[in-house]
């Protein structure tokens, strides 16, 4: 089973209540390919939840006529997840703050992109079809 690739692809309405189910599906795919317990319990669910909630809340502004598209591809090497929203995009570099600095530590927001970067090996942004965030995690 060296060359297995599993994929999940789906469209969801702009509603945060869908997040948990998507996370469960993607995590299950990674579990099937024996990703590390920590990746299954921390890296994948948290980073994916952040990407999805940003897409729903900022990208689509929870507008019911807009959808979020998710595509996750997993093999024994890596997980690649793409989350696309129908927003106009944003600047990845300038949007990230350091939530661990003394002046930010008591803020309630601003930890999403930071966690995505810390928990994934790479986070990229594209404008192919709407605003696309691609996150990659090497299996451990």
């Amino acid at each position: 089973m060296e060359h297995v690739r599993l994929a999940v692809e789906l469209d969801i309405p702009s509603d945060v209540r869908y997040i948990e189910d998507i996370v469960a599906m993607v995590t299950r795919q990674c579990a099937q390919l024996s990703y590390a317990p920590r990746q299954l319990a921390l890296n994948v669910p948290v980073a994916l939840t952040e990407a999805l909630s940003n897409a729903i809340l900022y990208g689509n502004r929870e507008r019911p006529d807009r959808h979020v598209h998710v595509r996750a591809e997993v093999d024994r090497e890596r997980l690649v997840v793409e989350v696309s929203d129908e927003g106009t995009g944003f600047d990845l570099e300038t949007s990230e703050i350091d939530p661990t600095s003394p002046e930010n530590l008591l803020r309630e927001d601003g930890r999403g992109l930071f966690l995505m970067r810390r928990l994934m090996d790479s986070v990229e942004r594209f404008d192919d079809r709407g605003n696309v965030i691609r996150m990659t995690l090497r299996r451990s």
Binding site: I19, R38, S53, P99, L105, E108, D109, F114
Partner: protein, 110 residues
Amino acid sequence: MSFSIRKQGDVVVVDVEGQLIVGNRQELKQKVLDELEKGERKFLIDFSQTGYIDSSGLGVLVSLSKKIREQGGELRLANLNDDLKTLFELTKLDTLFQIADTRERALESF
């Protein structure tokens, strides 16, 4: 996800069962604020039954901690598994909260 809330001595103990994320954090926030409103001052959130927590779940904990402190109260956390500990360390929130290994230790420490 669901929350259960009970009183142990003069401490309000909240168990978070499942995920604490953007879709449900308001529920936790409201429950704790209701107790604060009623005059409770000591709060313990137990994470032994918790799955993952996202940035907005962390945000709610920060917000509750501030509100409780403003009323002269205290919020403590207990039973973070290794993955949740790492999450608190990554975000340096381990420096903001009083975190106990077990519920008993947390209760004793008030």
